[in-house]
Amino acid sequence: MTPVTDKPLTKNMRPDGSVVDIRAYEQADGYQAVRKVLHGGMTPNAVTDAVKDANLRGRGGAGFPTGQKWSFVPLGNNAPTPTYLICNADEMEPGTFKDRLLLERDPHQLIEGMIIAGFAIEADVAYIFLRGEYVLAAERLSRAIAEAYDAHYLGKNILGSDYSLELYLHLSGGRYMCGEETGLLNALEGKRANPRSKPPFPPVVGLFGKPTVVNNVETLCCVPHIINHGAAWFHALGRTHDAGTKLFGASGKVKRPGLWELPMGTTIREILEEHAGGMRDGVTFRGLLPGGASTDFVTEEHLDTPMDFTAMAKIGSRMGTGTMIVLDDQTCPVGMTWNLMHFFAQESCGWCTPCWSGLGWVERILTSMEDGQGQPGDLDKLASQAKMWGPGATFCALAPGAAEPLQSALKYFRDDFERHIREKRCPWR
């Protein structure tokens, strides 16, 4: 075996951006984890336990423990068939560009993760649900899937074992709601991507009414490495209890926008200053959304917080997808909030009144504020809307997600909102 790396997810990636094909992947010890599982006599439960011990938490944004999710799936001869595994490659959260890298550059890593996850939940059929705009990823995944079938990593009796798995690629019709787990199930069934009521949860009643696990691309890519190197190694990769590495990114007016695989628990400051190179000359830092559009703004005082699920929740935000969007002093915070609310309003599926009607109203208030028509009571109206979208008040997590940047913008940039109303103009225009 080649020496154990501290950057498992990106270790094979080539600087020229070309794809790692099956031969190169195999030469880098690829598909060893599949062999270990299928030829080494591991049971599905043993695979799930390994993932539980590693404390792998979902990289799609919510951080749900992956092994625990898998353990909800009924196994054995009396379980309903087929069982489905779905890779969520919809990546439509604004400011998020991490799964694209994994899909375009090392597609076999994902396929290997899916075979092992599929084995753990006794899946018969797997889908990669890919957003339609990821054209290059679609090409490279299609080729990689064909290569994997040819090499008997997919299909009937994988590598001569009893385990069989079919893997298909589905290209989305395009809508943010497709990324929501149960909206995705409906989209894959050829319906509108409205969410479903829970319970029952997808591991019990999912796609076409059958047991289904939905996992994010990055989550699944961690799995082969956990099988190869073990839970203790995975814990040691992270700096905090939320184990492993994480793809962290930064966009906005920083010197070097980009994406880096770093230990879980790397501080916001280190990502922002060392990796992204700090702010561009001539602009200063005001705040950032830590992990996509649906996370609460954080400011200067929070920069020494470790980016992980636990620590970010403690400061009233979330790690989300781990790709941060930076706000600078030359950019209007009210305008940025308007942009985010415009997105959520447009993508709301229209099921719950507080969501679709409230988001439209909030977008109109912010538009009028930007146009110099803001009214003294507006801030209270905005704050009360954000409260109405709180967790539990709506059918899915889109509205609570929209509440996060709005409530935190009102908290940290209140003076800027007030100035818009007082001066009857946007000071940045």
């Binding site: 439509m92 560009f97 054209v135 990114g249």
Partner: protein
């Protein structure tokens, strides 16, 4: 009428699902790739082929951003209007495209060469602002770069 090529592509996808109507989104995308958009006639043909009602299929079609129910130009420009691109100068890029092409969002040039549409985050935030023209991603945009890119689409 669906072409034999369209039908065989649809059938290949349909084999991936246990229920026939599940393939309807793939089917509309396939037809759109061949014809540029999904007309009422195409919608009828797809619905008939899959044994669905036209109303059901249209309610699916209108839900999705990437299924065009109106004709588009020879090339479709999708400019990202989400937050990172907005911070990095989306407004200026949209204005530049608008002036150069003489159209606004949702419109098609009179020579039918380009349709300009907004799109949500293209996952290219570290190289913002970004747009797609047909299947090609263009990033780190500035007005000169936009002009050079557009020249390659005839």
């Amino acid at each position: 009428m669906l072409s034999t090529e369209e039908i065989s592509e649809i059938e290949a996808e349909a084999a991936h699902y246990p229920r026939r109507d599940a393939v309807c989104i793939d089917a509309m995308r396939i037809v759109q790739r061949h014809r540029g958009w999904v007309s009422d006639d195409s919608l009828h043909d797809i619905a008939a082929h899959l044994g669905m009602s036209v109303t059901d299929l249209d309610s699916v079609a209108t839900f999705y951003n990437l299924i065009f129910r109106r004709p588009v130009g020879r090339h479709v420009i999708m400019i990202c209007d989400s937050v990172s691109c907005w911070v990095m100068g989306y407004d200026r890029m949209r204005e530049h495209l608008g002036t150069r092409l003489g159209i606004g969002l949702g419109e098609t040039t009179s020579d039918n060469r380009f349709t300009l549409l907004p799109i949500v985050c293209l996952g290219c935030c570290d190289r913002a602002p970004a747009m797609m023209v047909d299947d090609d991603l263009h990033s780190d945009l500035d007005p000169q770069k936009i002009d050079r890119a557009l020249e390659t689409y005839t």
